[in-house]
Structures are given as structure tokens and as C-alpha cells.
């Protein structure tokens, strides 16, 4: 397991790369062998509920799945549990105010004058402070027995473009409020985020834009002294044509392919050879054109793999699951992550 000692896994990536799916799969994988994990959603999209096929999550940690070692191809024993939480910023703010300030009547007054509204929508960064604060709190929370409540917390974070700013919001806030309670809270959260207990993983596809954004994203994280995690390469397609076949589609193999298609019976049942040959003719150009497109894509993917390899970070490849990811697919991805050492 590559991430021993990491308690908070932050999963980000360019939009459309499937970061919510992989965050969920990672939470499942980390829960295998009798552990308990918490999956946190911060963008109010209810993507987790959708993935697990359950009703919209309230602002409350609740169990969304169990996982046995066999389900993810692991060796150990014990049934693991995955909890999930969709953070509602308004409620998180009230909870935060109550926890730290015991406001009572004044808290109600703040709500009445529109402070909560103001803070969660207009005021800069408050949302991000609450979201990161809640994740850190869950990651460090201890039960009555003095042990951590969750073995790991996985956060489905905002996309790469906004990630560093999101994670760094507390250092910004600590700069704005140079002392006082906000300052110390912000410092504490930043301490967790910058510690070896946190790892930030980026999800990418083998396409140019997501890979570029991943490379830039890791550079930004490093510059902000945030702990860099691994690369999760999602939706990897199996090579249908091997290297030899890819090379072959660029040669002139039209007639040979035509003969093979005839042999496979695609010319129909006519007794006349010419009729059968004519029947496969309209297939030839489309099939060869599709193969050339495929070859082009494979070549582009190789370039992207090389760029990712240059990052020199732990990297995991997850297969493309046709038809979108259902619950079964989620366990399959979790199994892949486990097998490749991400959990």
C-alpha cells in the first residue's frame, strides 16, 4: 500500500475525468479489510448519492456501503464500511459557530440579519474554509476509545483549476485574520492539510487537456507546499489493435482485408463471387478509416503516458467501464485501486 499513514485523501482532477467516481472507489478500497472510511462531497451536486443509487444525502454522516475483502479482491478479513457526507455550507457554518463560540441568542440574531447568507455566498473564502475545516475535523476525530473514528477520509474536491486556492484558503484567511479564533482555526486546518497525513491525488484521462492540467496542477500544489499524492488515470481503453495491427493499417492492405471479410462470410450468401466481393466493398473504407483513427488515438495516448511518467509519481490505471459506472463498476474500480497498491 502506497499511502500508509495518510488519513485525508483529497481527490481532484479536470471536470469530466470522473473524480467523484474515483473518490468513491478509493473510499471503498480503503475500507476493505474491516476499516471505516468517510467520503465527503463539497460541491452540492449529490454525485455520491447518484453513484451509490441512494436518496440525496443530508448533512449527516451516514453509511452508504459495506465492503468485504472478496468484493475488492483483497486477502484480509472483516467487513469495511463507507460513510458519506454531503456538506451543506449553511449548516456547517452554524455548527462551526456553535462549536467554537457557543453563541446562543447572538447566533440566531446573526442568522436573522443575514450573516449566514452573507458568509456562505458573498464573503470570500468562507465556504472553502468551512469545507476544508470539516474534512480535517473528520480526519482527526477520535471516538470515546481514543481511536480515530475513520481510518481514512476521502474528499471529492473541486476541480484542479480551483484546487490549490481551495486548499490554501486557510493560509489566506490566516493572513487576513492575523490573530484571534479564526486565525488559530485556519492555522490548525492548514497544519493538517500540509502534513504527511494528507495526500492530494489528481484524476486524469489519457487526453491532452486533462494531462496538461494534471501536470500544471501538481506543480501548483508543490509551489503551495501541499502534499502531492498519486495520478489516477481514468477510463483507460484496452488496446483493440496491437502495435503490429496499428502499423499495418497505414499500409495498403485493402484487398487482403477484403478477402478476410469474405472468408468471414460478410459478403453474404450469393453464389457469385463478384456479388459477394461487391457486398464487402462498402465496409472496407469505413473499417480502415476507423482503424486509422484508432491508431492516431493510441499514438496520442502514448504521448500523454510519457508526460505523466515524467511526473515520477505513483500512478494507477483504471479501465473504461462501458455504459457509465454502476455499483458493480464501482467495486471493480475499487478492486483495481487495491490491486495496484493505491489502497
Amino acid at each position: 500500500m502506497d499511502w500508509e499513514g495518510v488519513r485525508l485523501h483529497v481527490v481532484s482532477g479536470k471536470g469530466g475525468t470522473g473524480k467523484t467516481t474515483l473518490a468513491a472507489a478509493l473510499a471503498l478500497a480503503l475500507a476493505a479489510e474491516g476499516r471505516r472510511t468517510l467520503l465527503i462531497e463539497v460541491e452540492g451536486r449529490q454525485g455520491i448519492a447518484e453513484l451509490f443509487g441512494i436518496a440525496a444525502l443530508p448533512y449527516q454522516e451516514r453509511k452508504v456501503a459495506t465492503v468485504s475483502p472478496a468484493q475488492v479482491g483483497a486477502a484480509g478479513k472483516g467487513t469495511g464500511e463507507v460513510f458519506a457526507l454531503a456538506i451543506d455550507t449553511e449548516q456547517a457554518l452554524l455548527e462551526y459557530l456553535d462549536m467554537f463560540y457557543k453563541l446562543g441568542r447572538a447566533g440566531k440574531a446573526l442568522q436573522k440579519v443575514g450573516f449566514v447568507d452573507f458568509a456562505t455566498t458573498v464573503a470570500p473564502g468562507v465556504r472553502d474554509v468551512l469545507l476544508t475545516g470539516k474534512a480535517c475535523e473528520a480526519a482527526r476525530r477520535k471516538g470515546p476509545d481514543g481511536r480515530r473514528v475513520y481510518d481514512a477520509v476521502v474528499m471529492d474536491a473541486p476541480p484542479t483549476g480551483r484546487l490549490t486556492r481551495f486548499l490554501n484558503v486557510n493560509s489566506e484567511v490566516a493572513g487576513l485574520a492575523r490573530f484571534g479564533p479564526i486565525h488559530s482555526q485556519a492555522q490548525a486546518v492548514m497544519g493538517v492539510l500540509r502534513s504527511p497525513e494528507t495526500a492530494v491525488h489528481l484524476v486524469t484521462l489519457l487526453e491532452e487537456m486533462p494531462v496538461q492540467e494534471t501536470v500544471d496542477g501538481f506543480a501548483e500544489l508543490r509551489a503551495a507546499a501541499l502534499p502531492v499524492g498519486g495520478v489516477l488515470v481514468n477510463m483507460v481503453r484496452p488496446p483493440v489493435l496491437d502495435a503490429a495491427a496499428v502499423a499495418a493499417v497505414h499500409g495498403d492492405h485493402r484487398e487482403e482485408v477484403a478477402q478476410a471479410l469474405l472468408e468471414a462470410g460478410l459478403g453474404g450468401r450469393s453464389r457469385t463471387a463478384a456479388t459477394r466481393r461487391a457486398a464487402v466493398e462498402p465496409l472496407l473504407d469505413p473499417l480502415l478509416a476507423q482503424a486509422r483513427e484508432h491508431a492516431e488515438r493510441v499514438a496520442l495516448e502514448q504521448e500523454q503516458r510519457a508526460d505523466l511518467a515524467a511526473l515520477d509519481l505513483p500512478s494507477y490505471e483504471l479501465p473504461l467501464l462501458g455504459g457509465g459506472v454502476d455499483l458493480g463498476g464501482l467495486y471493480r474500480l475499487a478492486g483495481e485501486l487495491k490491486r495496484q497498491g493505491a489502497a
Partner: protein, 391 residues
Amino acid sequence: MTGASGPAGLDVDRLIDDPATRIIVCCGSGGVGKTTTAAAIGLRAAERGRRTVVLTIDPARRLAQSMGLTELDNTPRPVKGAAGADGPGELHAMMLDMKRTFDEVVLAHAEPERARAILENPFYQSLSAGFAGTQEYMAMEKLGQLQATGSWDLIVVDTPPSRSALDFLDAPGRLGSFLDGKIIRVLMAPAKVGGRSAMKFLNVGMGLLTGTLGKIFGAQLLTDLQTFVAAMDSMFGGFRERAESTYQLLKADGTAFLVVAAPERDALREAAYFVDRLAADEMPLAGLVLNRVHSTDAPQLTAERAQAAAQLLEENGADHEPRQAEAEALAAGLLRLHAERVEVMGRERRTRDRFVSVYPDVPIIEVPALAGDVHDLDGLRVIGRQLAGTD
């Protein structure tokens, strides 16, 4: 393969050729090719004779380069090589610089001394550098500015890549409730001479509230915040007015929204969210652009038949001499590739049909999947033709 499809096709050329169309807003979730779509539409409109500007938020590097956007300078720049030198059309492009846009607003609406106080306020500096939300506000501010110059036939806007992309629709309401709300008076009370006595409301004393805020924020931050709010006070009215007029502009006849998506479950779910949201605000939706749709020129060959034929060839190959076996292996590979393609098409079609059955009135245009990314104007022209259904 043309883009013609569905219950009603989206006629992009008619939309961009219509002189009444003045603003096109592209929205959708991240990773669906939204920026590329906006750029392709802008280029096509320019080359069809309109003086066009594309406002992008955060373009991928190479796409930006393809439009000659090498730096973020917050001003529309002509795109070299776009539109003929003799034609009436022109293409300009710009990337939004949030901070600079915000600074410009401050400088334009406050006296120099007050403007400097605002620009130097640490609270302002954090806010303007782009916390969640600022981007959306500033994108709309810039749109309002571009429109106010009157020098563009058509403005194409690429929205920020998130669900909050439509947060700008809330901007006037939010600013309004903030300005009308008590909170601003609470924040401004100590800075306003003589304001205190008037601040008895909700049976809560001013002292308790500011005391509480001080407890939360700490005295120094509260002072910064109050200074900021007081300094901005003279501008808030202007802000709200502008936000309100941009909102009305978006609702007006000359505006068209395009929702961009890919034929995947998640992207279309987001698209549905956007469609609903636009309808709720009575914003004019022109249609859905469905990017990355797969197609084949050999639709007569089903996936099942291709798979079966491939299997047969692979089995036969074992008994044949190398040269023939090689050809059979290649043909089998082509057939498997085709089968995969047809299966993908089937899935995409089902996903799309589910959307159509819920939103039968939304015109759709499908744009084929490309092997690689778009890097130059020619690539954008190809997309433009596909959007117009003429390729």
C-alpha cells in the same frame, strides 16, 4: 456524417447570422468542450461577416494559443488569420482577468482616494484575486462592459467550468439581499458616524451583534472588513444596478444560451440541470450542443455480426500460412474495433434519448468525436462546420 438529428435540429448558422443575436452564452459542466465550442462559434460568426468577440474564462493553453491569446491582458485582441481581410467580419478574443476587471470597476466608480483605500484593503485583495464566486460576477461584469461599448455585433461568452457557472444568475438577487439586508448595516455601523442609534432592530442590540462579530472575526479582521464595506458603500448601488442590467441583458431578445454536453450520463445530467435553471429564470435557451458523438460510415454491420466474424477469422488464422493469418488478424482487429464503436454509439444514443424524452423541445446539434484536441484555427473551422451541420 452530418450533425442533423433529433426532434428538432439546432440551426447554428441561422443563430449566428441573425443580426438580432448579440450575445451567445455557452454553459455546461467541465470537460465537455465548452471553450472549444465557444471559440468555434465565434470564428464561424466572424467568417460569416460579423464583428465578433469571444470572452473565455480559463482556456486550455493550446486552444488559447490557437486564438493568439498568449497572455491574460483583459482586453479583446484581434485573432490573426481569422476572417478575410476584406470581409466585414472580425474575430477578437480575450481571457478574463478577474482581479483586473474588479480593479477597473473600483477605479471607475470611486474617487481616486477612496479607490486607493479599497485596492489596498487586504480584504479586497483576497476577494478580487478570485475566491469561489468572484469569477462568475466578474465574467458578467466584463460581458456588460463589452456590450456597453456597442462595438460588437456578437459577443460569445464561455462560462466558468462548474455548476456554479450559473451563479451569475443569482448575482443581482444576492447583491440585492445583501445590500438591503441588515448585515451590511451591522458591518457599517461603527464606521458611520451617528449610525448607531438607528440600528435597533430585531430586538438585538447593536453592541451584542458587533461584539459577536468581533468575537468571531477578531478585532483586526472586523476592522478591515468594516473599512472595506464602508469604502465600498458608495459603489454598492452601482454594483447592483450593473448586475441587474446584465441580468436583464441576458433575458433580452438578443441573447441565446447554448448548453454544451457530451453524450454521457453525468454530462447530460448536468445539462438537464442547466436547462431547468435557465427555464426557471426565463433565460432564452437556443439549444443543446452535444459534443464527442461517435458515428460510423458502416452502420449496416452490427456489433454482433462484426464480433462473430472476428472470432471466426481468429479461429481460422491458426490453420493458415503466416501471410494470410496476418491479414485475418488485421481484419479481425478492424471488426472488433467496429463492434466497440457500434456499442459506444448504442450507449450514446440511449443516453441522448433519455434526455430527449424529458426535454423534447430542446433543439440539439451533434458534433462528432475527434481523435485529438483542437490546436489551430483550421481545427476550429472544422468544428464550426460540424456545428452548422454542413460537414
